[in-house]
Structures are given as structure tokens and as C-alpha cells.
Subunit: 576 residues, 2 copies
Amino acid sequence: MQHLKHCQGLAQVFLIRSQSSRLSKSIIPSLSVWDGNISSRWRSTGGHGRQKYFNDRLPKFRFALAGLLAGSGAVLAYKLQQGKVQWAATSAELPVAETSTPPIYTLEEVTKHRSLDNGVWVTYKGDVYDITEFVAIHPGGDKILLAAGGALEPYWALYAVHQQEHVLEILSKYKIGVLNPESYKKQESANPSDPYSAEPTRHPALQINSLKPFNAEPPASILSDNYITPSVIFFKRNHLPVPRLDPKTYKLEIEGLPDGVVSLSLSELKSRFPKHTITATLQCAGNRRSEMNQVKQVKGLNWGIGAISNATWSGARLRDVLVYYGFGPEVEAKAKHVQFEGLDRDVTGSAYGASIPLNKAVSEESDVLLAYEMNGEDLPPDHGYPVRVVVPGVVGARNVKWLGKIVVSDEESKSHWQQNDYKGFSPGTDWDTVDFKSAPAIQELPIQSAITHPAEGTSLDLSDKELTVKGYAWSGGGREVVRVDVSIDGGKTWHVAKLRSSDTGQHPVPPPPGRAWAWKLWEIDIPVPHRAQELEIVCKAVDNSYNTQPDTVAPIWNLRGVLSNAWHRVKVKVSV
Amino acid sequence: MQHLKHCQGLAQVFLIRSQSSRLSKSIIPSLSVWDGNISSRWRSTGGHGRQKYFNDRLPKFRFALAGLLAGSGAVLAYKLQQGKVQWAATSAELPVAETSTPPIYTLEEVTKHRSLDNGVWVTYKGDVYDITEFVAIHPGGDKILLAAGGALEPYWALYAVHQQEHVLEILSKYKIGVLNPESYKKQESANPSDPYSAEPTRHPALQINSLKPFNAEPPASILSDNYITPSVIFFKRNHLPVPRLDPKTYKLEIEGLPDGVVSLSLSELKSRFPKHTITATLQCAGNRRSEMNQVKQVKGLNWGIGAISNATWSGARLRDVLVYYGFGPEVEAKAKHVQFEGLDRDVTGSAYGASIPLNKAVSEESDVLLAYEMNGEDLPPDHGYPVRVVVPGVVGARNVKWLGKIVVSDEESKSHWQQNDYKGFSPGTDWDTVDFKSAPAIQELPIQSAITHPAEGTSLDLSDKELTVKGYAWSGGGREVVRVDVSIDGGKTWHVAKLRSSDTGQHPVPPPPGRAWAWKLWEIDIPVPHRAQELEIVCKAVDNSYNTQPDTVAPIWNLRGVLSNAWHRVKVKVSV
């Protein structure tokens, strides 16, 4: 630990210089006055105590491994890391600032440093960094080693989250020199193009939480206007660039069945299996995260109440496909999970991945689909064209898009998102104490509801003395919403809202028990008390297991800001 | 309505006399100075407007029909009824009190009044009552007609709930005269013996909430001492007298399968089907009702936190039995529910009954048992000897004891307990507005936890500065408890408790997904802050669908006091 502080203390020396370098790469030479001893001294002690340091730190940071891929996960972790680095720096014994010519390296020299034993060097915009000590505490885990001995730019292009002031500040602490101009030029010309250049056009109504990867939600004001959410405003939660796939060459691989690897074309998927249609609501684990941020800062995309939408999905049942290709008692005796891999990949070729329990995948009543249609049309690119998994009743993160591979396995997916993200923790658990292995991966989501109308802070003309309140309610695991209670006095008294499962007012056939995959929209007119000036509107839903929502956010707060399902509260003013 | 008020106003006249009659039947004649005109005037108007009255009232009281059988249901309904009668009485135009000789009737005269058309008369301890108008508002429904023309005693012996001051007070309002001494003597000698005379001996540690029918719970202090609750202290919730059944003549009937009615002996059940064992927690819907009573009076047995226990159960799988007797796609296409009838019957022969959804009954993963063993021994009489249904993950009320009949049907059980009890409502719903059809019958129960140690109000010597807190946690539907958060500052800060699923400390094989039927016991040592004088201990559990408990009781309060699963709170004093 002491060693790290020392190194980071040294790194402070370069901070001003490093910041200026971001302003203008072209003036680097004229500003560079370095003492070569600094970096050589650093290097000479660079290996000292490294193994012990890693032994001390690695168990604690196991959870962060593989997280390079994590869009929002990376945001959270970088902020965390920033805090750690700052603390370490201020408590270190700082050497006197020195000015000297920075060491100049060739690409060949940089390339030699691509392992923990030889040191891990990277370049960014012509500067050279020795990040050996940073590897163990990289929030995205050891995937950072993929960039070892070369440029960071291709990776940071993939995860725009890195392009933030504080990330560059952390990096600056590890600077050891600059590339020679020839190497820099050569490197620049080799940089790949923007992996997000082929993203689809999106609807202008969407509220964007992250552009790269693309994450956006419909505004609350239009969310409950349609029982079936139009695809264009259906919330979009991508972890990587949208892959553009050719339906003619698309292949879905299936592993873990008796006959070895199966490869299936889109037309085979469509023609070989009955087409099954369900209406199912998908919700991101981070829906309503912004309310947790109001209690205490959490790490992740700042979703409002719109990271939830409802659509019809058509495709082959996963069960039918697995059984067709040999799934039976023999496989069932060994397998416990079904893993999914997307075709959305990072520059290293690593795919988005997730898994679901075997019983959910193969049960006749689970309705898990390999879907190729959404709302009666081909899946849009943002929703997984040509094939995605739809796991109704289960958190969005397991509904893998752009599906490339299915693996029947005795293990959960090893992906970052299955192992070290999308899990819930106690409000008392922080980033220093969290053990991701101690919590189960989120599958079924808890009961949820929110108010879509009126909006927070609205001033209402209540000449008619009745307030109309609208919203949505949904529960995971196929549990049907059976009641929504609404209050306009902060929860002191309650009224029962009218539920609906269609836009037309007709009552569709109720779903079989345990298969209520779709939300209910609700509405109620509540008489407003005489002389009321402000109303605190509250809603809470109940499902047919009689689970209900917790009253307040703080006691369910968790460091990742997932599973935010406390009573939704909206304050409005009354103008008489 | 006016008519009822009038009648009840008249009834007020007899109140003092009626109460004295309870003190000493032998002095009736000397106190009886009646004006025969009153009762004859009453009778002459008794039929007036009756049909309209019933038409007005019946829809509202539909829910109460058949409730005569309901142990706790009757308590609730009588209290409700008391309020209604009092209101009606005070708002009526009271006649001037009159003293005269009461009409004297023979048993033959009473016997003629056993229908709504001829009037409904009953006797109780030598007094005669015309309860014609009361039938429609009898909380136990029209089963009261079974007593028409005769004595109430045999029925009230079955439901000890009637033996309360306010029930007698209601009855007194309908008094029209007395039996002649001969008739009374004859009637007394014909009274049946106490239907509860053959009840089993119970463990003295049990805390009794109702003696007839027997309802009792283990004290919280010993509830979590054993992972498997010993049968003798396992909570007992009977709705009727315990039937004493002969295993040699016991028959289980099955209806609704293609081959007609099947009759199955105990030895056939044991020999024909594999014996399957599960560990499952049962919980009464009314567990922790006493906490709802603290918010506002509810109707039902005043359970503490002990109406929950955990046992091993062995028996035949319901699925295996149904399939053996012909259940298949043909039945499945039509049937939606599986009904159960107990052999515990009231004097009319009506049995306790309940039903579960078909998919729960026949799914391979539901583990529904026709159990004949509890904790490795024959079922004890209080727990359903020789055969009961165990529906793991589902409210106790559906785990029908002393099982007599299984009916595969397209309908839910028509029983009072399925239709008009064991349902949840909004806190804003009261007995005047409740529509039992609007809520689903409780099946799976929500997430639950409670503190078993320390006890409320304890004064703790915390010389070691650590407080040990213990408790249980469970969730319905096979959802596994994955975390219990404990606070000693009323919910401001939280600690994660250690969970266990055995008494030995070893980790048993975790249940398959969706089949976690058994509770977890938990324990935690929490450092007590310096100078603390009082601690508010709170617990809340989370299941693997990440459902959690609501913070407070009031917003989940409901008129029946079921589903009481808010954070459990225990206040203790600290002595330093």
C-alpha cells in the first residue's frame, strides 16, 4: 500500500504538465523539461513489493475483473477509483516538483511492456504511461491488459465513459514520458474508426442517459399513453455498439447439447419452430436509479422512471429449440444454467453475456423466446436484430440482444454483468466491503409501480376538484399486479386505482397463473381536499403473491443503484 | 332499513331482562312481567317489507355467506355486526319500556318457525328469539338457518366465538319470549356433547389464541431454537374440531378425473406412490396480526410472530397421484384448480375447504404433497392425521388437514375461506366497502421476517458491548431468502445477518431455483453505541426476486389483518 502511495505521489509531479498536454499536443516538446531520473527511479522500484501488493489487493478487487466491458459499471468504478487515488496521493510523502525533459520512447519500446512482470505501458495521445500498479485497481478489471503495450484510444472509443476529466486525471498520475513523433504518427494512422459510427437513428423524444453505448428512455409523460409501447420509444439499454448483422449470414450457435455444437440460420429458426407470441414488459435493473442518487450517490446511468416498456414479442420458444436439438433428462441431470452471448463485441472480441437458471429456460410455462419480431415487425437494430432472447419476468440484462450463442451449462455466465454487476446489496455495504459473490445475480425483479401523470412540480388548476393520476405497475416472475393504491396525502390515506391491460378498455383474456408478463396501466380520479395547496402523490402496487413496495428509498439504497422500487412520490402544487 | 331499526328498538326493551336471565335461569318466572302485545305486534309486522329489505342488504352481505364455519372470521364479523346493530338501535324511535309477562312457547311452536317465510325462531338457554331479520346480516351467513326452529347451543358449542358478551347482547335484541319449563328440560337433555371433547393434548408452552377451535403459537423465545420446529410446538391453526380418524377405514376420494370418483386407502397411498420428503415452512395468513391491531382494530385471531413454523413433510406427490388416476392433457385443457376438502366438519356436515391453481398442483417442481408424515413420524392429530395437503410456498389455509376429498375442477373452492376470507385489501377498504370478489385468494405469501431475540421491552446488560439479535426469514412461492438486514437504530443504519438452513452449522445442499420452501434462521452480533439507553431493533429480509418488506404497518393494514409483513421492530433498554 505504501508503495502505491509513493508512486502516486510521484505521479502528482506531472499533473500540471499532463493537463496542459490535453490542451495542445502540438506544443508538447517546447513544454517538456524532465528529469529522466524520475522515471528511471520509478522503474527501478516498480517491481518492488508488487507481488505482495497484488496479493493484498486482488481479493478485494476480484469483483472488478472483466468490467472493462461495463458501460455504466465503468462510470461507477472510475469515480470510486478517483477517490482512492486522491486519498493515496494526499497521504503520500511528496517529492519536490522537478522539471526536466520527459523520456522519449519508440513504439517498439512501449510494445515490450505488456505484462505485469515486464510492466504495463500504454499510450494516449502521444504520451506514455506505466500503469502496472493501476492494473489491480482498474475498475474494469484486468481487461485493461488488452491495451498493454499499445494505444488506449481504441478501447476508450468503445467506452465513452473514459472520456471524462477525472479519468484523464487518474491516467496522468502514471505518465512516464512521450512517444517520439514518428511512432505517434504511425499509431494515429492505425487507430480504428469510431465503433459507434453505424448506430441506428433514434427517436427525438428519447431522453438520452448515455450516447456511447446508447442508453435512453421515453419521457414519463408519454410512457403510459400506450399499453403496447411503440418500438421507437421503447427504452434502449445497450452495453456496446449496435452490431449490424446480415440476416442471410446470421448464425445462432448452440452448445452443451449431446450432438455438439449446433448452428442455426435465421430462416431455420423461423421455419423449424412454431411462432409463439407473448406480451412482456422489460425493465432495466437501474430503472428509477435517479431516486437512489437523491439519497446518496450511486454508480450507474441516472435513469428516471422510464427504463421500462411493454411490447409484444414473437419467436421460437427456447424450450422447443433446445428439445429439438437433444435437450432431455440426460442434459438436465447435469446442466443448471443456460448462457447467452450477444454479437455485440468490444475490440477484443469479448461479447455481452448473461445466463438464466435452467428451469426458467426449459419450463413449458416460462415462455422464454428466441424472438425475431417486436410489435409485429422485425426486431429493430436497437432491440437485437435479427434475434434476441426475451426472458419474461426477468431483469432486462438477461434478455440478451443480437444473440450469437446459447450454451447449456452447469455454470452461470462468467460475464462481468452476471458475476459483478446487476446484483443487490444492503444499504450498509459500500465499495470497500462489497463481495459480489455474496449476492445472487438478479433474475426476477420485485414489484414496481410509478406515477406518469402528473409530473413532479406541476401546478394544477383544480377547478373541477378532482385530480387524475396515471401510471404503470408491474412485477417480475409472472406475478400479476392485482392492486395499485394511490395517495395524495403522502401515504396517510389510500385509494384503489383502476387497472387496465389494453388500450381499448376491453378486458383481454387474463394470463394463466404465474405468466402475467405484461404491466398494467392504472388511473384514478381523486377528490382534492378543499384549500389544499400542495399534494404529495404516492403510488404502491401489490402483486398476486401480495408482495408490495417498500415505503422509502434509503433502506433499499445500494451501491449500484439497482432495484429501486420504493413508493413513487410526486409533489404538485394546487392553484385554485 | 327503517323496519329493522324499529324491530331492534323494540328489542332494546328486553335487554336488562335478558342479561339477568344469563345470571340465573331458575328465577326467570318471578321476573317475567310481559305485555304479550309486543311480540304479537312484532310478529304481525314481521313480514312487512322483508323481501325489499333482503334485496337491499343481500348483495352487501354476500361475502359473509357460509362464514358460520369461520373461527376467526366469526369473531370479526360479530364485532362488525355489533357496531351495526348499535347504530341501528340508537337511531331508532324507541318505544316506552314496558314490563309484562313474556309469551311462553312450547318446543312445538318454536319448531314451526324454521324458514324466512314462517319466521326464524331459535332458543338459547330457555329463551326464545325471532331472528328472522338477523339472518341476512348474520356474519356467518345463512348457515344460521340450520339452527332454525331449535336450540343454538349445539352450534355455539362448535364455535366458541359466539360465547362473548357482545354476541349475547345482539341476540337479546331479538327475544320474543321463553320456553315453557317442560320444553326447556326436554331440549337440554337432547343437547349433544361438546364436539371438542376429543381434542388432543397440547404442549403447555403453546400460547393459545383460541381454544375452540384450537389456535396456538409457540412463544417467540423458543421459535428459532430449532431449525426444524418440533411438532408439539409447531403453530396450530384449526378451523373446526379435530376429527379423530381411523387409519384402517380412512378413504381419500378424488373427483374430476376421467374415470370418475376414485377412492384410495391410506395403505394404498403409502404403497402405490414414491415417498417424497421436503422441508417446508408453513405460515398462517394472520401471522403478526397483532401489529395491525396496534394501528387500528382488525378482525381475527391476535397472532404474534409465531404463526409460522418449519417441518419436514413426507408423502406422495399430488402430481403422481393425479397422473396415476388419469390426469393428462384432456383434463388439463379444462381444469384450472384443484380443490381440497377436509374431514373436519361442522354439525351440518360442511367441511373445511380450499383450492390451489392447477399449475401449482401438477407442476413437477411444485412439490405439493399428500403428506402422512411430519418430522419423520405419523402426522399428529392437530396437523391432519392421517393425511394432509402440504402446498409449499403457499399460505397455511390451503394446506388442508384431515384430507377427505380432492376435486380437479374449473372452479376455485366455493368455501368461505377461499371466497370470502384470506384475501388482501387496501388500507382504505372497510367492511362497508369491501368486495371480496375484487381480490384474489391468497396463495403465495410475501417476504417475511421477524426478531425472536431479544424480546420487546427487555433490559439488556451490555457489558460486552455487543447485542446478539436472532430471528427467522421466509418467502412464499419457493423464493429463497438471500439477505436479512438488521438495524439497532430504528432503520437508519443496517447490518447483514448470518443466515442458516440447519441446526448443525453445516450447509445443506441449496434448494433448486424456485423451490426454497424452508425458512432461514438468522443471527448477528451488533456493537452497541456508547451511552445508548434504548435500542430500536429492526429486521427486514430480501428474497431472490429481490422483493423486500415494507417499512411500516399502516400502509399495508387491511380489515382482516392478514399479510402483516412490515419490518419487525423490537425496542429494548440498555443497562450499562
